[in-house]
Symmetry: C2
Subunit: 115 residues, 2 copies
């Protein structure tokens, strides 16, 4: 099994899933929305739209833009942004563990797909 | 929150998620692939492709076609098919419970999205 794809669904277009969480992680790592988007082979516009969607979802901002010197400024995560990543990854790990220990039929697939 | 969308990912195109599970549930309920597809506003062809994908995933068939009298025959789930549904829904329920009890930040969203 490769893993779980978990989305928390709040409304038709309001979701938190692996794509948005990965984007946040890359912003934390690279300090730049542009570089995070590039690392996901995503346009800056697409990344900006995802971040805008996240910001509308939570009660406070998850990222903070820094005004740069030359060209585009960087971006960092707020404490809430870091906590969202931490809890999402912990939740995902917990579900993964429950799946492999308690629901054997769901992962008992064809031998070449098992790992 | 509306709920969780959980897919178990085995390979690029090999996944079990809410769409396939719902289709299986509707086949169990209606005894017919045609009627199950209609209930999901899905073409018979699309339903057939999903069922074919599921059959390639698991080590034994999940559905059994019955040869009908007039027109198309019906379909029922095998014991494995019923068990896949049961375990998927139980797994989903367990993750849902863990989410709301242990990862408060992930569901503490804008007031109008909370239910």
């Amino acid at each position: 099994m490769q893993g779980l794809h978990i989305e928390i669904v709040f409304g038709k277009d309001e979701r938190i899933g692996p794509g948005k969480v990965r984007l946040l992680e890359l912003i934390a790592e690279k300090g730049s929305i542009t570089e995070a988007a590039q690392a996901m082979s995503m346009s800056y516009r697409k990344a900006w739209l995802l971040l805008d969607a996240i910001d509308k979802l939570f009660p406070a901002p998850l990222i903070e833009k820094r005004v740069g010197g030359h060209g585009k400024g960087g971006a960092t995560l707020t404490p809430l942004g870091r906590e969202v990543i931490r809890q999402y990854r912990a939740f995902e790990g917990k579900c993964q563990k429950a799946l492999t220990s308690d629901y054997p039929v769901l992962t008992d697939v064809q031998p070449d797909l098992r790992d």
